[in-house]
């Protein structure tokens, strides 16, 4: 289980440059699509591939593309989401830094399929240096005739520009991203209308994650059916996982969807197991997905081996499952405190709330305050139920999913680690030392299999 479709050439010297990239088969998908296929045929291959959005939501890409409105005389846009702000996620940065032309190639092929003549890469401002790498790649591609007017003599025109942001998690949400790209605050828009109908400059727009657009390259080269042969069920193809936390081998790994969770976290091919202690919990898909105890990451509540797929990771719903999300994977060892981590997560969401919707703006602040006092030995037993109540009133009551993303880590931490919260209330003196579980790990009481 080690086929690589995106990172096959990650370690080839000079792969950042056009010459080596081309020598390794780069830009074949552009030749194939522009010279031998219709735009509709490219969309069809993407549909057949079963590719799902790699930014976190997992929505079928071909379907998203087929929703794009095509009123005559109105420009259409492709916008690549390179905001990559979900904590734990650093795969797109790696891909853009290592193999920038793969993204450019995917954008040309995708823009052709969508009928876009202008495309943008919206990249988070912190990745300024990566934007320079992309700009160089675009200039190289343009000089070689892969961009600009009349590409390959086919009459198709395309320009790609890199647009840097300036630090705002919310701009990873596609409508906030479009607002930001228009030079405004990153306040998410009310949907509908969806970007496919009214997106950038009120024109039909497709917004896709970096990895999603890169995956279009092997899909067009080898055909959607070949791509769909990799993986399990509706989780087709490969996925980049950025692995961090208390593992021995942090890094970016391309896995075939369907690798077992046990193998992924413990084998030396990937995470390489725990960093000298014992695993306690896992967040497999970025900070917004539910945190699960290590045992529930390895096996479902029914005792089946869990797999790195969209379906298997969410098996059991939020009671016992989690989500594949963005692939921002991080693991906790037994020196870590779940209350401290939940407080940290919540501070993040409070800081990043755009402030439009009161449940999110106020609720994240209240949760941060309550979690701060529990973690610092000043909590009350009823605070735990209060937290539960606040998160429940945020979820589903906001314009964009940031509210849900702020609620889920709190809900899952209480669901699975309630005894650890209670310990904080009972032992205020012990938890005043910020490294309270380092010397004496918290021992969880065994739980019944069903919750």
């Amino acid at each position: 289980m080690g086929r690589k479709l995106l990172l096959e050439h990650e370690n080839v010297p000079g792969i950042q440059g056009l010459e080596v990239y081309r020598a390794k088969g780069g830009y074949r998908s552009v030749e194939k699509a522009l010279r031998t296929m219709s735009p509709e045929a490219v969309v069809e291959e993407v549909k057949k591939s079963g590719l799902r959005g790699r930014g976190g939501a997992g929505f079928p890409t071909g379907m998203k593309w087929s929703f794009l409105a095509k009123p005559p005389g109105v420009p259409r846009y492709l916008v690549v989401n390179a905001d990559e702000s979900e904590p734990g996620t650093f795969k797109d940065r790696y891909l853009m830094e290592r193999i920038p032309h793969l993204l450019i190639e995917g954008m040309i092929t995708s823009s052709f399929a969508l009928g876009a003549n202008l495309a943008f890469i919206y990249i988070r401002g912190e990745y300024f240096y990566v934007s320079r790498i992309l700009e160089r790649a675009i200039a190289e591609a343009r000089a070689a005739g892969w961009l600009g007017r009349n590409i390959l003599g086919t009459g198709y025109d395309l320009e790609i520009h890199v647009h840097v942001g300036a630090g705002a998690y919310i701009c990873g949400e596609e409508t906030a991203l479009l607002e930001s790209l228009e030079g405004k605050r990153g306040n998410p828009r009310i949907k509908p209308p969806f970007p496919a109908v009214k997106g950038l400059y009120e024109c039909p727009t497709v917004v896709n994650n970096v990895e999603t657009i890169a995956a279009v390259v092997p899909i067009v080269n080898d055909g959607g059916e070949e791509y769909a042969k990799i993986g399990v069920g509706r989780s087709t193809g490969t996925k980049l996982i950025s692995a961090g936390g208390n593992i021995r081998r942090p890094g970016v790994y391309e896995i075939e969807l369907g690798v077992s969770c046990d193998e992924f976290i413990n084998s030396d091919q990937w995470c390489g197991g725990v960093d000298g202690r014992a695993f306690k919990a896992v967040v497999p898909g970025g900070s917004s997905v539910p945190i699960v105890p290590y045992e529930l990451f390895l096996k479902t509540a029914a005792g089946e081996d869990r797999l790195m797929t969209y379906e298997s990771l969410s098996d059991g719903g939020f009671a016992t499952g989690t989500m594949l999300g963005s692939g921002g994977f991080y693991a906790y060892n037994d020196a870590q405190c779940i209350v401290r981590s939940t407080w940290n997560h919540t501070r993040f969401y409070h800081h990043e709330s755009c402030g439009q919707c009161s449940p999110c703006r106020e609720g994240t602040g209240w949760m941060e305050k309550v979690l701060h006092r529990i973690e610092h030995g000043e909590g009350r037993m009823e605070d735990i139920d209060l937290l539960w109540d606040i998160q429940r009133r945020i979820e589903g009551n906001t314009i964009c999913p940031l509210g849900d993303a702020a609620a889920w880590p709190v809900a899952s931490a209480i669901r699975h680690f309630r005894d650890e919260f209670e310990f904080h209330v009972r032992h205020p003196q012990k938890v005043k030392d910020p490294r309270h579980f380092e010397k004496e790990p918290f021992v969880r009481k065994p739980k019944p299999a069903t919750v």
């Binding site: 940065r93 990745y127 300036a166 405004k184 990153g186 692995a243 900070s287 991080y330």
Partner: protein, 185 residues
């Protein structure tokens, strides 16, 4: 957005601002990327250029100059500048050290790095050293979780940081006279 740095909302005692010729040419090149009538899109990229040309922060005169270049109202610039965490609305040190404090970094010692930095520089998060060389910030996830703990200074990521590596970085930065900007090439 939780602003740790409060805005300076006056022009009194604040140096005037003008784009250099080179910077102005860059602004116009960026504006040309967007469709006709949509040049306001260039606002954030141009704010980065203005900040780099104004000692690392956006004063009211600097923001007003951005509004003039784009032909928009100053308030359209202020409301954007105050939303995004990379824009400093108060003067900062020559090198702004932004240490990631979000959970994945915390799991790998981000908190300890922040504590070490405070001690080494003799300031708290959000403050600037008396000599004006360093501003210390704790920021949210920078997408460098596999190489944590880490910090960003200007355009550069400093990763897998130990206390020793942090101290060595401080010495290197002390020795340079050039400001660290996000826009550095």
């Amino acid at each position: 957005m939780g602003a740790t740095l409060k805005a300076v909302t006056t022009t009194e005692g604040v140096a005037p601002f003008a784009f250099s010729e080179h910077a102005l040419a860059e602004c116009h090149a960026i504006m040309a990327r967007y469709p006709e009538g949509r040049t306001k899109s260039a606002l954030i990229p141009i704010l980065h250029i203005a900040q780099a040309g104004n000692d690392g922060w956006l004063s009211v005169p600097a923001m007003d100059a951005v509004a003039a270049v784009l032909g928009i109202q100053p308030i359209e610039v202020y409301e954007v500048a105050s939303f995004y965490s990379m824009f400093n609305l108060r003067p900062v040190g020559r090198h702004v050290l932004e240490i990631c404090r979000t959970t994945p970094c915390m799991l790998r010692g981000g908190d300890a790095l922040i504590a070490h930095a405070e001690k080494k520089l003799g300031i708290h998060v959000g403050e600037t050293t008396r000599d004006g060389l360093f501003t210390l910030k704790a920021v949210e996830c920078l997408g460098s979780c596999g190489t944590a703990p880490m910090l960003q200074c200007g355009a550069t990521y400093h990763e897998d940081l130990t206390p020793e590596a942090f101290d060595a970085l401080i010495e290197r930065l002390r020795a340079t006279t050039v400001r660290s900007n996000y826009t550095d090439r």
